[in-house]
C-alpha cells in the first residue's frame, strides 16, 4: 500500500468506525435480541415469538399502520405547505429578504424540540392562551381543549418538519432557469399547466429528497406525538419505548425496532419507484 492510499483510508477511518460501531453493530445486536426468547434467568433460545406477537396482537398492528399513514399524511401536508414557501424564497424574494425568510424557517430549531413542544402545549391546553383568548372574545363560553387529538399531532409534526422540506426544495428550484417557466407560458400554458408540466417535474428530485427526510423524521418522532397526542396518540415509537422501559421487554422492543426499520425502508423504496427516482439522485439533489 502506497502513502496516498494509506492516507485515504486513514481519513476515511472515523466515518467507517462511526458507521460500523455506532450504527451497524447496535442494529445487528438489536436484530439478534429480537430473535431470542428468554426461557429462564440468563438463558435464551432462538424464537420468532416476538414477531408473532406483533402480528397477532391487533393493538400493535393498528398502531403500526396508523403511524405509517399519519407519517405519510404529515409528509404530504408538509410538502403542500413548503412548496409555496420554497418557491417564494427561491424565485421571488431578493437578497436580504431571502436570507431573512430562510432564517425564519431555521429559528424554531434554536430551541430544543422538548421546549418547543411544551410551547405548543401552553398555547393549546384547556387553560392555555388560545382557549383563554376565545373565552375573552366571547367565541367560546367554556374552556376549549385543543390538545390530545390527531389534528394537533399533525400540526406539531408538520411544524417540526418544515425546514427539512424547504431546504432541498429551495436548492432545486434555485437551479431552475426562470426562462423555462416563461417559455411554458409563452407556448400557451396557464398557471396550472405550467406548475404541473414544468415546475413540479423539474423539482421532483428536491421533492423526493425532502419527502424521504421528513417521512423518516416523522415516523421516528417520539416527543411530538406523545406530548401533543397524549395517551391516545398511539405512535409506534411509544410502543417501543413502553416495551424497553415500562415492560422491560427488550426482546419485544427490539422486534418492533426492526419492524419499524423495515417499514420505513419499504415506504421509501415504494416512493422512489413511484417517482422514478434513484436513491442516489434524490440524496444528491441539493448539491
Amino acid at each position: 500500500m502506497n502513502g496516498k492510499k494509506l492516507s485515504f483510508y486513514l481519513l476515511l477511518m472515523p466515518l467507517l468506525l462511526t458507521l460500523a460501531l455506532l450504527i451497524l453493530l447496535p442494529q445487528l445486536d438489536m436484530l439478534g435480541i429480537s430473535l431470542r426468547e428468554r426461557v429462564s434467568y440468563g438463558v435464551y433460545e432462538f424464537s420468532l415469538l416476538h414477531y408473532q406477537a406483533f402480528f397477532t396482537e391487533p393493538l400493535y398492528w393498528n398502531t403500526f399502520v396508523r403511524t405509517a399513514v399519519m407519517s405519510i399524511l404529515a409528509t404530504a401536508l408538509t410538502l403542500l405547505i413548503s412548496f409555496p414557501v420554497a418557491w417564494y424564497i427561491a424565485k421571488i424574494a431578493q437578497g436580504k429578504n431571502k436570507n431573512l425568510m430562510f432564517l425564519a424557517c431555521l429559528i424554531p430549531f434554536w430551541v430544543s424540540e422538548l421546549v418547543r413542544t411544551y410551547g405548543w402545549m401552553i398555547l393549546l391546553r384547556e387553560s392555555g392562551v388560545i382557549s383563554g383568548f376565545l373565552q375573552w372574545a366571547g367565541l367560546a363560553d367554556a374552556p376549549v381543549e385543543m390538545l390530545y387529538n390527531d389534528i394537533t399531532v399533525m400540526t406539531g409534526l408538520v411544524y417540526t418538519s418544515m425546514l427539512f422540506m424547504v431546504v432541498p426544495l429551495v436548492s432545486t428550484l434555485e437551479g431552475m432557469d426562470d426562462s423555462l417557466v416563461e417559455a411554458a407560458y409563452d407556448l400557451g400554458g396557464n398557471h396550472f399547466t405550467v406548475l404541473r408540466t414544468v415546475i413540479v417535474p423539474y423539482a421532483v428530485p428536491g421533492i423526493v429528497s425532502g419527502c424521504i427526510v421528513v417521512f423518516m423524521l416523522t415516523l421516528g418522532n417520539y416527543l411530538t406525538p406523545t406530548l401533543l397526542g397524549g395517551k391516545d396518540s398511539l405512535w409506534f415509537t411509544e410502543q417501543i419505548f413502553t416495551q424497553f422501559i415500562t415492560r422491560f421487554n427488550w426482546e419485544q422492543g427490539a422486534a418492533f425496532g426492526v419492524l419499524l426499520l423495515c417499514l420505513s425502508s419499504l415506504i421509501v423504496w415504494l416512493g422512489l419507484k413511484l417517482s422514478k427516482q434513484s436513491f442516489k439522485q434524490a440524496m444528491t439533489s441539493d448539491a
Binding site: S179, E182, A183, A184, D186, L187, G188, V198, P201, Y202
Partner: protein
C-alpha cells in the same frame, strides 16, 4: 396595409431608468428584422413587451393590426426563442415540440404528425425520442425554433439565441437561421449585440441606444450611410478623428484634426458650420494602403507601421501618422502584395472624400 407587428410610441420605465423611450416601428409580413444595440440599451425590455411578459407604460403594440394591451403571453400570437433556449430538460424532443400544441388541445394524432413534419423541415427527422442533452448546440437551437414555429405564430421573437454558441457554429447558424426564416416565411424579430449577426441575416436592422432607435434601415444603409455617430461607431469598425470644421466649400468640408492634419469630406446638407467641433469616421477597409510615398490624394497621410494585427482575412495594420502621431487602423488587403509588411515600415494611406462620415461632436451617445 397592416403590418405583422407595429409599435406606436412605446415607452417603459423602471424607477428612474428609462429603458425604452418612445419607440415606433412597423414590420411588414415575412421579414427578418433585427434590433441591434449594446447591452443595457433596452432591447430585451422591448422584446419582453412584445412577448407580453411586461406591459408598456405608454404607447401600444399591435400584432396583425390587433391591439395587444392586456393580453397575456399565452394568448398572444407570438412565440419567443430564449437566450438559453429553455428547452424542457424533463421532456424528450417530441414532447418539447408538442408542448404548445398540447396546450392548444390539438388531438394526439395531428400533434404527432405536426411534430414529425416540423422536425423534417429543420432537417432533424426522427429524433422525437431523444432527450435534450443528447443534442449538439446547433441541434438544440433548431429544436427551440421548431418548438415555436410548429404553433405557426404571426411573429417569432429571438433573444440572442446564438450567444452561447462557439464562433464556428455561430457562423453556421447565421446562415441556417436565415434559411429557416425564408423557408417558413414567418416574421422574425431578432435582438442581438453582435452587428455581424444582425447584418448577415436581416432585411431591416434597427440600431438601438439608450432606449431609442438611432436608425432603422437595411444593413447596407446602416453601414454606408450612418445617420448618427453612434451608428457609425457601433456598426462595423471605424477610425474616429476629432477635429474642427475649418471651411466649407460647396458640399465639401475641410476638417482640421486636433492633431493638426487636414482632411476633406462630403457631408449631409446643412448639418455643419465653420468652427464646429466634429468627429470624422473612416472605415479601416475604405483606406488605401501603398508603399509608394509620393501619392497625391485629397486625404493623404504618410505613416509608420506600428504593429500588424494578423487575423487571416480580417487582418489590420495600426499606422501612426509621422507628423501628428494620430493612429489609424487600416485593413490589410490580402492580395499578397503586403504579406511581407513589417512593423516600422513607412507607408502611405489615402481615402476618397466620400468614404468618410462626419458628425457633430456634442453628441453624448457615442460608443
Amino acid at each position: 396595409m397592416t403590418f405583422d407587428l407595429e409599435c406606436r410610441n412605446v415607452s417603459k420605465q423602471f424607477g428612474d431608468f428609462q429603458a425604452v423611450n418612445d419607440i415606433s416601428l412597423e414590420i411588414p409580413a415575412g421579414s427578418f428584422f433585427s434590433i441591434l444595440g449594446p447591452s443595457g440599451c433596452g432591447k430585451t425590455t422591448l422584446l419582453r413587451m412584445l412577448a407580453g411578459f411586461s406591459e408598456p407604460d405608454q404607447g401600444e403594440i399591435l400584432i396583425k393590426g390587433k391591439k395587444m394591451a392586456g393580453i397575456p403571453p399565452n394568448k398572444r400570437p407570438v412565440n419567443m426563442v430564449f437566450q438559453h433556449l429553455a428547452l424542457f430538460p424533463m421532456m424528450n424532443i417530441g414532447e418539447n415540440i408538442a408542448y404548445g400544441l398540447k396546450r392548444n388541445k390539438v388531438p394526439k394524432q395531428e400533434r404527432d404528425k405536426k411534430v414529425a413534419d416540423v422536425l423534417e423541415r429543420i432537417d432533424l427527422p426522427g429524433i422525437e425520442n431523444k432527450s435534450v442533452h443528447q443534442l449538439s448546440g446547433g441541434q438544440k437551437q433548431r429544436v427551440a425554433i421548431a418548438r415555436c414555429l410548429v404553433l405557426e405564430p404571426d411573429v417569432l421573437l429571438l433573444d440572442e439565441p446564438l450567444g452561447a454558441l462557439d464562433l464556428k457554429l455561430r457562423e453556421q447558424m447565421k446562415v441556417e437561421l436565415k434559411k429557416l426564416q425564408q423557408a417558413f416565411g414567418t416574421t422574425f424579430i431578432y435582438i442581438t449585440h453582435d452587428q455581424s449577426e444582425a447584418m448577415v441575416m436581416s432585411d431591416q436592422v434597427a440600431v438601438m441606444n439608450h432606449g431609442r432607435f438611432e436608425q432603422v434601415g437595411s444593413p447596407q444603409s446602416l453601414y454606408y450611410q450612418p445617420n448618427t455617430a453612434f451608428v457609425a461607431g457601433f456598426v462595423g469598425n471605424n477610425n474616429r478623428i476629432e477635429g474642427v470644421v475649418e471651411s466649407i466649400v460647396g458640399e465639401t468640408a475641410i476638417i482640421r484634426s486636433d492633431a493638426g492634419q487636414q482632411f476633406k469630406t462630403t457631408f449631409p446638407e446643412a448639418t455643419l458650420h465653420s468652427g464646429q467641433q466634429v468627429h470624422l469616421y473612416i472605415r479601416p477597409e475604405a483606406i488605401h494602403i501603398r508603399r509608394d510615398q509620393n501619392v497625391t490624394s485629397e486625404n493623404h497621410i504618410n505613416g509608420r507601421v506600428e504593429s500588424i494585427l494578423f487575423d487571416g482575412g480580417n487582418s489590420q495594420v495600426l499606422v501612426k501618422d509621422t507628423e501628428s502621431s494620430q493612429e489609424l487602423t487600416v485593413s490589410l488587403p490580402q492580395t499578397r502584395e503586403f504579406n511581407d509588411l513589417t512593423a516600422g515600415e513607412m507607408i502611405s494611406l489615402s481615402w476618397d472624400i466620400r468614404q468618410s462620415n462626419v458628425f457633430s461632436a456634442n453628441n453624448k451617445s457615442e460608443p
